[in-house]
């Protein structure tokens, strides 16, 4: 339908390290924006994170920064200011993890006003660890710190033992997605008002927003029932054992108070018809499967039969009778799944002379066609090009180190 990418003609300047800002920049580049990544000193710390591709680029840095051009600011504060200020003056969007003091030190004083006086159409997405206001504003933070403060570490591991984290970088990734939303919403708004604005985001704020189910559950509950109030106090959850691999499954739910039928046929099919007479089991499975409040304590009753059958058979029986089920796949198994291949979730993009696989844009559109980009910039790779485009003398920029 559309010949041109959604964000064609939109210039994004990104002065941010790690996951949140760069992942937002990456997805905006996939949507067609011209993204210029600005670094100084040693550059984005993600460049130093293992594992590394064959060309010694960090695999994470590559995936997060492919499709961008890279500018390295010089060591001299005045040089830095001249180049960066000119870049941001001509940009539509500025994504940064610097606070007001950090921006001033880079020569961008006032960029994070409600509307930037020297570029009133500029949209500024300002990402902090802990929020713009409050006693901890301006303090450094991290993925792990945000997970701990938002209480996420309490829902994995064992109460009273050393904490564990969520292995997914949920604070950084959710903040990246909220940042991309913020930029798109502000661009939409700018079409109507002609004006840009600042949007504040933070790692902690994102995780608290994503905690809405648990915040609401603990507000003033009528009973202490189920994982939404008890999850932090439960033992590690590893599903139901079968003959080969653990699975998770559920019946009931979705519509109305009781949900759909299917559980009674399922228990008969897997040799558990005795549960039909057992008063501890409701006849929809809603209370004793999935996240039902009785699921954990009655797990053994199901496992008595499940462990006689391979996981694939139990899963097939659940699905046959309208329930939900899956094994706990490893990532190797996942990428081999016909489902993953049918959706074309993973795409090839170039890096140097090689080809690397990356995750496609996470939404499938009937009209827009986001195109995942390749080639992450070496530190300062495009400094001279960008300097020239801006009409600045080359000595304003530091020479590429590459």
């Amino acid at each position: 339908m559309s010949a041109r990418p959604v964000l064609k003609g939109i210039t994004v300047v990104e002065a941010a390290s790690g996951l949140a800002g760069p992942m937002a920049g990456c997805r905006l580049a996939d949507l067609g924006a011209n993204v210029v990544k600005v670094e100084w000193d040693d550059g984005d710390w993600m460049r130093q994170c293992p594992p590394f591709l064959k060309d010694r680029t960090s695999a994470d840095f590559f995936a997060l920064n492919r499709g961008k051009r890279g500018v390295l600011l010089g060591a001299e504060p005045k040089q830095r200011a001249a180049l960066l200020r000119r870049l941001v003056e001509t940009a539509d969007v500025f994504i940064t993890d610097q606070d007001s003091d950090g921006l001033a030190a880079l020569g961008l004083e006032g960029a994070d006003a409600e509307t930037c006086a020297w570029n009133p159409r500029l949209i500024v997405a300002q990402i902090s660890a802990l929020g713009r206001e409050g006693p901890l504003a301006g303090m450094p933070g991290s993925e792990l710190g945000a997970q701990a403060m938002a209480g996420y570490t309490r829902y994995v591991g064992t109460l009273g033992k050393q904490s564990i984290r969520l292995g997914a970088d949920v604070a950084g990734a959710s903040t990246a997605i909220f940042t991309t939303q913020a930029v798109l919403a502000a661009l939409f708004s700018r079409r109507r008002t002609g004006r840009g604005q600042r949007v504040d985001l933070s790692l902690l704020n994102s995780l608290v927003a994503m905690k809405t189910v648990h915040l609401a559950a603990q507000s003033d509950p009528d009973s202490f029932e189920g994982p939404r109030v008890g999850g932090a106090y439960d033992p590690p959850e590893r599903g139901w054992k079968t003959a080969d691999a653990p699975i998770t499954f559920a019946f009931g739910g979705a519509v109305g108070a009781e949900g759909r039928p299917g559980w009674t046929q399922f228990v008969e099919a897997v040799g558990l018809s005795r549960l039909l007479e057992d008063p501890r089991f409701d006849k929809t499975g809603r209370m004793t499967t999935g996240l039902g409040p009785k699921a954990r304590e009655l797990k053994g009753e199901y496992e008595a039969e499940f462990t006689k059958r391979p996981s694939a058979e139990v899963i097939a029986q659940v699905r046959k009778f309208g329930g939900f089920a899956s094994a706990y796949l490893s990532h190797d198994q996942l990428l081999d799944e016909p489902q993953v291949q049918a959706l074309e979730i993973v795409r090839d993009v170039p890096q140097g002379d090689a080809t690397v696989r990356v995750l496609d844009f996470p939404v499938k559109f009937s009209g827009s066609k986001p195109e995942v980009q390749g080639q992450a910039p070496r530190l300062g790779e495009h400094t001279q090009d960008v300097t020239r485009e801006l009409g600045l003398a080359e000595e304003t920029a530091a020479r590429s180190r590459a």
Partner: protein
Amino acid sequence: MAGPLSGLRVVDVSIMAAGPWIGSLLGELGAEVIKVEPPAGDGTRWVEPLQHGMGTNYMCLNVNKRGITLDFKNPGDRNAALDLTATADIFIQNFRGGVIDRLGLGYAAVVARNPRIIYCSVSGFGEAGPLRNEACADFIMQAYSGFARLNGEPGEALEAFRFTGFIDLTTSIVATEGILAALVERENTGKGQKLEVSMLQAALEMQFPRIAEMLGSGEAPRPHGSASAILAPDRGYTTLDGEVFVTVHTPAEWHGFCAAIERPDLAADARFDSNPQRVANREALDAVVAPLIAARPSIWWMRAFQRRKVPCALSHNFEQLRYHAQIRDNGMAPVVHTRDWGDVVVGGLPWHFSATPGEVLPPPIPGADTAAVLEELARHKAATSGVESA
């Protein structure tokens, strides 16, 4: 003040979690959102726990909406739903594969009446492939997508996140990202489109770096306890009275860390002089660091690390979190007043727009706005009859 989407209208026929929270986010951005429930009711009304008889999931996942009840099996109601979509900018559905077409609200039917509609279709596993018609739930996708394989002590295979709805809500935020892109696109082309959002792709997006590491190196990710896969030090350390969480990203933070633990000599140790070195030698590093940190209380370490600008934190439970000055001052966990079910704490706005801020508004009473919405619809039809061919 009105949010950036003020003036837009959303019709949301989704139930449970992954679909409904999309509408709430669009509502928080200023759109008018109409939640259409079947007569049997959205199942979240009965999901534990309840608060004064109403499921807390229903309340928090339906903020910023009006609520109407329509029975799609009744032709009159089905036509009303179709008429409603003709007045909408955005439509959200998450029925099992194929069902929405049978209900007469498939993309072809809706776009025929309204070519500007942005039609967001949410599924578990996507709309192609052998699992396209399978239903899904949060914990199912944690298992299928490998999300649970990232959690646990080193050497363990997996552990689920006992925190319900996280993958559902991940799906909602990915969908909202797509809808906003489609809105920008509509400004360019004048046309809407269909979006397919799956819990599967959303769950992978949430694992972005772990997947990138695997695709880049060929090595499947695995649990590391509280430690990071890519940074060191970056973990929880036991203190005299609890636990402190510390992260080092940069050379400056590494020097600050060594100063805080009063071991400046470590900063000159070749085994630890870059992040890749520290990750490779993390056991040797922890053999030095862990006993030092265990000898003093958490508060000492918070002061010592904060003084050197090293990221550090303590864990908070709900009671500590909800009253924390940082949470409060940034409006991260606002209280919403409901008419019948008391006050409920919900997640706050994830973005704070300086010019178009948006706000969090209460959830609907199920079906309470049916008469009003249908009356508006009748007035709209009367006013536009004969000219609705745009």
